[in-house]
Point group: C2
Chain length 273, copies 2
């Protein structure tokens, strides 16, 4: 297929296993995708699975903040290879717990949309520094229109006030980049759109606009779920695009973790990490 | 530098020219970026510059719908090489006219932001099928906060009505994917945000949701500039992400062309392409 994504999938699932197998051998591949883990943390937890000639072979690949733990199993039959693979996938998911958000092509946005479907909830977004990237990640997922209502990219303070009902005094007292404003944005987009889950970001993507108290890379993520609202603080490094990318992924991940707790019946709590 | 973008710039401007030059020779490189051109159209217009051992060497590279015409000039001094390069850049820009939107790292969004600065205007966006990608492209440009007010990603019809004032009857009569709704969205986001320029998209990104009359890949772009509003129709191919990407870039380009006409004092006209 001409579409790179589809071509990659065909290559990975159809072509690569055939190229790699020895005569009479079957090869199957899979990946377990992790967020919020460094490569050295991955080494620490599954180093024992990553030794040389082990079957399945296990190796991490880092792509835009996501660690993909890639597995390749060989067996005399496809069933045997699948069985070996399934056992390791299970082990890896257990060792990483909630940091493992899905397998193969599953993105953070897709993992979130599956939880929204499971819980019967809808999401809206209010973005400042990420500028539409969270909305764009969500709308990469086919069928997201059933769970996604709207995204207000409130770049100006006027928009934060008029579209989301952020109190002017709050912006004046704490600044637009503050946990208070992040929470008001998330709460506001839930109220004005009728969504159960609200995700917000406000931060300094750079390269200018930073101060000693609020440096470039400081981002607050607000999560509002069924009336309970909290904020998370991030300190991100890199250029403007990288900061946007990582902030958007962290925001999706915080939302995913809140839904996971909800699905398990845990209290969501007012997080202030 | 660890940031891929910065590394690429350093490599392109600092390392590559040194690697490519022969003793006593200076090499300089540049690209002219085109939108809305196929490779064969490019061949047709500058095929004469693309012959083998010519200096500067000229060759096109296609990246996500943008054709980058890459030039590499060699000279006895940097000045001589620069001079050769400048002459060809001029020729290429002339031959492509408004399809040439900038050089080197200039994106469509950056070209648009430079025109907004020149004209002293502000932009707001109302996205449906592009889902936040136009906003994300715009906010990749440092300093865009001076020219960008807000972006309403109106994925649900309710949001199109409540946030943007699109008439319910219009959605019922023509469907959400229609030139009428595209225009109402662009007009609506100008009115509600106070922006001079409004950009909107509504379309079918797929993979499902298409009909014989409104197939996957059908997208309408609305442009509203200082009270005059028009719509453009696109028929895009490929998967969901590709359709979003191309629709967002076409939308930025239509807005750029409208501002160019404005800058030249031409009537903006109610385009219906």
């Amino acid at each position: 297929p001409g579409v790179p994504e589809e071509m990659r999938a065909v290559f990975r699932e159809g072509v690569l296993p055939r190229l790699l197998r020895k005569p009479g051998e079957r090869v199957v591949v899979r990946s377990v995708n992790l967020f919020g883990m460094t490569e050295s943390e991955v080494d620490g937890r599954i180093g024992d699975l990553m030794r040389g000639e082990r079957n399945p072979s296990v190796g991490p690949k880092v792509e835009g903040g996501v660690v993909r733990v890639c597995l390749r199993a060989r067996g005399e039959s496809a069933e045997q290879a699948q069985e070996l693979l399934a056992r390791d996938v299970e082990t890896i998911r257990e060792r990483f717990g909630d940091a493992a958000f899905g397998c193969d092509d599953v993105t953070l946005a897709r993992a979130l949309s599956e939880l929204l479907e499971e819980l019967g909830l809808k999401v809206s977004v209010a973005e400042s520094c990420t500028g539409g990237l969270i909305g764009s990640f969500l709308t990469d997922v086919p069928g997201i229109s059933h769970f996604f209502l709207e995204d207000v990219v409130a770049y100006s303070n006027e928009c934060k006030v008029s579209r989301l009902g952020v109190p002017v005094e709050e912006i004046e007292s704490f600044g637009a980049v503050s946990p208070q404003v992040a929470q008001s944005m998330a709460r506001g987009v839930c109220r004005t759109s009728g969504a159960a889950l609200g995700i917000s970001t406000t931060g300094i993507a750079g390269p200018s606009g930073g101060t000693p108290e609020k440096p470039v890379g400081l981002v607050y993520v607000g999560i509002s779920l069924l009336g309970r609202t909290g904020a998370h603080r991030l300190r991100l490094r890199g250029g403007r695009r990288r900061i946007k990318d990582r902030a958007a992924k962290h925001a999706l991940n915080f939302a995913r973790l809140a839904l996971l707790r909800r699905a398990r019946g845990e209290a969501t709590g007012d997080a202030q990490a």
